[in-house]
Amino acid sequence: MKKIGFSVLLLAAASLVGAQLQAQVIVIAHPGLKAAAVSKRELRDVFTGAASDLGDGSHVSPVLLKQGATHDEFLAAYLGKNDAALRAGWRGLVFSGQATMPKSLESEAAVVEYVARTPGAIGYISKSTVHDNVKVLSVP
């Protein structure tokens, strides 16, 4: 019984850490976007190329980070894919004539700068990155 109790405690601790990590990544969009929130399902659709608009009909275009901890956390928390699988999926769409590759930027500052000046752009950064001039979307 003690072993089961210990395992449950460990699981609870792990899920708390997971939730904490997820909270470090925020989703940002161009300030002109009508929506104030975006669902996990919408994020998954937009960032895997399955949709190019949100539930309210607003057109959005995703912006990716090329690599890094924030990128990995976003993929794990919201898309359930690793970087290789994500890019393979996008390339399949591009090479079959169904889409263009999303913008992929080197730094979080570059993502903020691009999203701020590009109507419809939606990206992700760590909470600690300066993010003036963009809109932060909540993910319920």
Partner: protein, 382 residues
């Protein structure tokens, strides 16, 4: 027709370039890939190559140019090169060249030379970097006869059928256009082996549709497609007519974390009538059953491993146990991504039967019933 498409593509891209006021306005993307394969078999020669001596006769490359002109309008073109032993060769084909106008998530229209969405992999089967496998299941996605049904010259409408959120998502694609049989692949060789030497490739109409349901269970997709096509062609001494052939398929795919599993079943029913001058028309019918199941695993982000089994049977054959009328292939495969651009693959095939992929012209002494095959590939994509 390819020249016409090439001209249209150049005009479309030219108009985009002319519209741009500065380099920032121009959202052109260029992507491509190239692969080189090596195949060695212990018995018969396979896929038009002299594989029993070891062959490097499989080379593929493609390059595409895309422009997202506005939020809703995209134009693009892709050129593809395939050399597969005696097939393909020094010709650059227009793989697709289209304008794509997406009204909203429910409706979009593509026009031009448009990839055909059929089954799990028809529209992406000539993009090698997208797969763990070196060869997709030959029964359904034969690399030596894929060129004919990759694309159609016409219109596709696509989008999502509104359904309640709790039911998942339902995506559709419906198309209508023209196609021509490829003049330099395995199908052309089969025509030649039947004595049908067309001065110009036969062709016809190819209407079809695809429905795929992303179920509420995360990672599970289920779908069905129907491709139909007819054809007419002129022979030096007669005519060739193929009434509408039906190529229905059902498929399922499951992806969860590092695991993926999929399967597809196909039934093809095709009639053809050959009328030679001074002779009665000769009609023949073929009915094929084709299927596969496959599974793979991302061992690490760079390393994948998997296996599949595929089966082909000429259902209309008088003697289904004749190796010429069936094909069964057990396959084990591995892929390693060296970095974001380079990758390597290795694959073993254990083939029973000669129903697809084998040709008389490079197996003049006849075919043995079983073949083991090793395939190794290296590739580059950007």
């Amino acid at each position: 027709m390819n020249r016409l498409l090439f001209g249209a593509a150049v005009l479309a891209l030219g108009s985009v370039a002319a519209r741009a006021q500065s380099p920032d306005d121009l959202n052109l993307q260029i992507h491509g890939f190239a692969t080189q394969g090596f195949l060695y078999s212990n018995a018969n020669n396979y896929l038009g190559m002299n594989t029993s001596s070891g062959s490097t006769g499989w080379t593929e490359a493609a390059v595409n140019v895309n422009d997202q002109v506005t939020d809703k309008l995209r134009v693009g073109v892709q050129f593809h090169y395939t050399r597969l032993g005696a097939f393909g060769g020094d010709t650059l084909n227009v793989d697709w060249a289209l304008g794509d106008y997406k009204v909203n998530r429910w409706l979009g229209v593509r026009a031009g030379k448009v990839k055909i969405r059929w089954g799990l992999y028809n529209d992406t089967q000539d993009y090698d970097p997208g797969y763990l496998w070196s060869l997709l299941p030959e029964s359904v996605y034969g690399v030596d006869y894929r060129a004919t049904n990759l694309s159609q010259l016409g219109v596709e409408i696509y989008g999502r059928v509104p359904v309640a959120k709790r039911l998942g998502k339902l995506d559709y694609s419906a198309y209508y256009g023209n196609y021509f049989y490829a003049s330099d692949d395995g199908t052309a060789e089969l025509f030649r082996s039947q004595g049908l030497n067309f001065p110009h490739s036969p062709g016809g109409k190819t209407p079809g549709l695809d429905l795929r349901w992303t179920t509420p269970l995360p990672g599970l997709k289920v779908g069905g497609s129907l491709m139909t096509y007819d054809a007419t062609g002129d022979l030096p001494d007669g005519t060739y007519r193929q009434p509408l052939a039906y190529w229905p398929t059902g498929y399922v795919q499951y992806e969860f974390k590092n695991v993926f599993v999929s399967g597809q079943y196909v039934k093809l029913v095709q009639y053809q009538t050959v009328t030679l001058q001074g002779a009665e028309p000769v009609t023949s019918v073929s009915e094929n059953h084709e299927w596969f199941v496959m599974g793979g695993y991302h061992v690490t982000p760079k390393l994948q491993a998997g296996a599949y089994y595929t089966h082909y049977l000429v259902g209309s054959a008088d003697n289904p146990s004749d190796p010429a009328n069936y094909f069964r292939d057990w396959v084990a495969s591995g892929r390693y991504d060296i970095n974001a651009n380079f990758y390597a693959k290795v694959e073993g095939h254990f083939i029973d039967g000669n129903g697809v992929g084998f040709y008389a012209f490079n197996n003049p002494s006849g075919l043995k019933p079983k073949t083991n095959l090793l395939v190794a590939k290296i590739g580059f994509t950007f």
